[in-house]
Symmetry: D2
Subunit: 337 residues, 4 copies
């Protein structure tokens, strides 16, 4: 942590800041520049609140030096983390594709989708039983009935299940059915949910909130890691910008940035990330080329009939084409599908 | 709802769309332009999913005409809603100021703050017992102990209590203590929490998510209203933009925009909205001038010692000055404090 | 400037950075923390390029300490600058309102607008003769004919003229007619135009680009100041965000932020800032309450007939109401109109 | 264009709008819904200003149906445009890579860079002689001397020259040296510059402004096309968002979106797009995978010594690796380098 003093700060002001730093159990180091004095704080700055120092007289700015996250950082762990989801390794050499409908609508819809995505090469099955919808008048999911249908699909196809949990009170119940528990973008900041999931022994798929910085994204992962759950997979799913031609702006830059700063695997959701089925294929190719460890793609047997998110869903046929198109891209990076 | 056909759509394509609209129980109206045909949907478009029509062959675009919210709209209710919070009317002629610390830290801190903000003219007391924090290593609130301290402050000062509830499972417990239940910005999309609160008989303060459009903001209010709770107060608290000199960008434009589109009262939180104590006073004046029905302001007896958000907290003295400064602005608009 | 070394940096790496700093004619100051070493640069960091140091081995980050602007800063000049525009002082005790049509369309339209805004209390007349339009098929302004009409309006009404100049090659010509030369938001980064204007003896109205940070805004002012023209008035006119209900998001927070960081006057353009005539009045009141030194407002005798920006233009009658509404707000801040 | 009437509009209000539409030489088509009436405008809506209708009594909204651009649209021209830059076809089967330093600094720097990028497979040489810099104290380019050095490099290496022109007054001079004239992001809205370039016979590289929507981007291309210059190459170079870990947010979604809406070729600048050399390689791969027709990459023999943008420049060695990495990605899409 570095404290920049205002140019009009006196020696007494500087000394006062130094005294406060020492009171907090840390050490201070002065550096007198031509225009102003800066004070370096020696010790673990994560333990002190910046306002403790920022509001002292004639302090101009307090600049943190350490990243706010620790366990999620590449410095804490140099090798890539590989998360095992019922035998499917996410973050390793293979690109893992998760596919399925936005919402579980009924047994037939889910089973037919599951069979077709499995045939095309998907390794895990997604499907929403609890849906956070903008409108109170929209379909909100089948709830536990949906989870039971997902379990049946797993039994038949052997595909592990990825599904969203929306509240800490529902974690245990959803965990009975799911193999990978998804924290939705709207819940990335839900600290109670994160704490509950941090005590589980099951892997968690953490979606980036649409206005989360990378620091905030990794801090949510830190909630999971610091609570004891190290099986965390990150997922980029589009950010909110001024752009009007896609529902969200899929931010692929975050993929290599995460790889530099963290050891956690990261996958990409091009369906929510763009909101347009005609952008899903090119952006899936781009995600793999950028270094993503996998994809999560919405597939529906008949998108126009979907209860939710039909406009961004692929038909099974288009999904097969997606798998064909990403295979040589993965190969170009020395990865399999 | 209006369906714009692609320029290459044939008569058969158009007829196919018309047939689908009729199947959905609605009527269609054709308008053939020079370059393309558009189809108007006659009936309540809120009842159909747009992908039903958007994914039909040669449909270029589906444009909704009706606002997605109904109960929250000015068309549904022309007169301003006035929400009664234990005798304090929010949305009426008087500007209502809510003040208090970000977090309840201990009895002494809260009581001294409560006394001083009451003396300066605040009508309700805010204080957080459950805190959603970005860092798992930061102070997370005193929990129910904090609520008990708030209740004590109410007993002593007579000020009604405003505090945040973070999960549907905690609604009943928090409602025992709070007079106005706050939905934090990070929870504006938490539909389970909104549904729980919609069944209560207590007023709700709904904060705008930092990346919520006005439509989304009013749709969250619609969750509360459609569930049966019409005592909803909206709160603008800053949006996320590229701007770097304030923690958030307080979006005062939303105040007159809400007044045009909705009958609900709206207040402004300049503390979170700017994140800087030196911007709180001018932006409070601006909020009142823009037509806000009140303010929610963070006050702490010693901001540098605050457990959270010290950099945006006012001292009791600065808060008194704020009250003095907004009084003539309110008067200029024919309102009292 | 502070250099943060990576945690794995060796003593030799640190020494190498120190050597480079000395080669650049500056001094270095070491501060060894628990996790990493930081190096303070002693001397005027504005003179060196950060990549000189950022790309050295094992440097993690280079953090500038000084603001990039100097002449525009409050530290350089503590008192408020008051810019004289043909006898009208901008930045002093009085709020200055500039009004007029978006585009000069013809003599009758301009003269009638000029008379009516003068009668209502406007102190300067705006009108565009050169218009930067998004569409090549839209009206691009009357050019020099428009300037001649503006000059005639000045002669008749006595109001000083505010008009936009779009290119360095047109500065001399526009300066013959204008009393205050406007740099449009799209040209805030046009360094050739800024350099030309910096050599003039006439005041400049610098509009903030819709995606400019405050640093960038003040750096454009620095171009003008460092070239010798100290008569600079800043103008906030809305930024680009995800918000959908206003054409731009008027960012009033910048007003008090500029007052803290700079000595230059700042006015607000609520017409472009919101793009909606029904938001202009409340946001004008808010701008004055936030501390703006003036307003620039679009007024048209018949907005529906306007060649440009009709949707954000006020009728003369609404403009009179605006002046009535801001007068008591200004008075509440101890200012006149 | 569709006019949505307010729910309280009377038959007379509707008739009034219809009359106005007819006065403008267009036809109207009524569609009476359950809650409101909508009016379709038959004819070329691009010829009328929306405020003409938007400000009529009881009009709620005016919704344009046609895209504002015409010549740039895929509907106007179905086949991909291939732009010939001194024999190098941009937009065809081959991926074209443009490389070189941000600024021309001296002959040796430029020639050595030119030789090395040519050897690695670049097809065109970039280099800035006129630099738009945020700071008036930063290096502003060598001007015409820089252009002469570029011309010499072309003579020696045979690589065509890509360089920026900043003002309409300099178009002729820069066009004497350049083979592809670049319009920088800050100038995308500079209509005078666009008009000057539209009269040239040379190809133009149009960079997207960092806050331009896709509509605005294509409207700037329309300025060039409508003026008679159809040799337009688009370039995505990052947009401004709240994201903090990259200087800009490279928006690759725009690549497939442009391919759907327009016939113009589009390339990607990952250097400015990310601002970080360690993100350039992965995002270059991603750009090609998304369907870009080429790249523009900054290369410098010694980035730490660069006069500008060193932090985002590649060394010649890293550039060679970039070329190696994108080759199999291009091949996967059936394209050559």
């Amino acid at each position: 942590m570095i404290i920049v003093m205002q140019s009009r700060a006196t020696d007494a002001d500087v000394q006062h800041v130094v005294d406060q730093i020492k009171k907090l159990g840390l050490n201070a180091h002065l550096s007198r520049g031509v225009e102003r004095t800066i004070i370096g704080v020696i010790g673990d700055e994560r333990l002190i609140r910046r306002e403790r120092l920022a509001l002292l007289p004639h302090v101009e700015e307090v600049i943190p030096i350490l990243k706010p996250y620790k366990l999620a950082s590449r410095e804490f762990r140099a090798e890539d983390t590989i998360v095992d989801v019922v035998g499917v390794p996410v973050g390793g050499k293979d690109i893992i594709v998760i596919a399925g409908p936005c919402s579980v609508e009924n047994e037939e819809q889910l089973l037919s989708t599951a069979e077709s995505v499995k045939a095309a090469g998907a390794r895990l099955l997604r499907g929403g039983a609890y849906k956070p919808r903008t409108s109170p008048y929209a379909f909100q999911g089948l709830g536990e009935d949906g989870l039971r249908i997902l379990a049946k699909a797993r039994k038949i196809t052997g595909l592990g299940i990825v599904t969203e949990v929306m509240e800490s009170g529902e974690v245990d119940m959803v965990a009975e059915y799911a193999d990978l528990l998804q924290v939705g973008a709207r819940n990335m900041h839900n600290t109670k949910l994160l704490r509950s999931l941090s005590r589980l022994n099951k892997p968690v798929l953490l979606k980036r909130n649409f206005s989360a910085t990378l620091n905030e994204f990794l801090m949510s992962a830190e909630y999971l890691l610091s609570g004891g759950n190290s099986n965390v997979i990150l997922c980029e799913r589009g950010i909110r910008t001024f752009v009007e031609y896609s529902r969200n702006t899929l931010d692929l830059n975050v993929v290599p940035a995460v790889k530099i700063l963290s050891h956690l695997p990261i996958i990409v959701d091009p369906s929510h990330g763009t909101g347009r089925h005609d952008l899903v294929l090119p952006m899936s190719r781009a995600a793999i080329a950028a270094g993503a460890d996998g994809l999560m793609v919405e597939v529906h047997p008949s998108p126009a009939e979907a209860f939710s998110d039909g406009e961004q869903s692929l038909t099974p046929e288009l999904f097969r084409r997606l798998m064909e198109e990403i295979t040589p891209i993965a190969a170009a990076l020395g990865r399999g599908i």
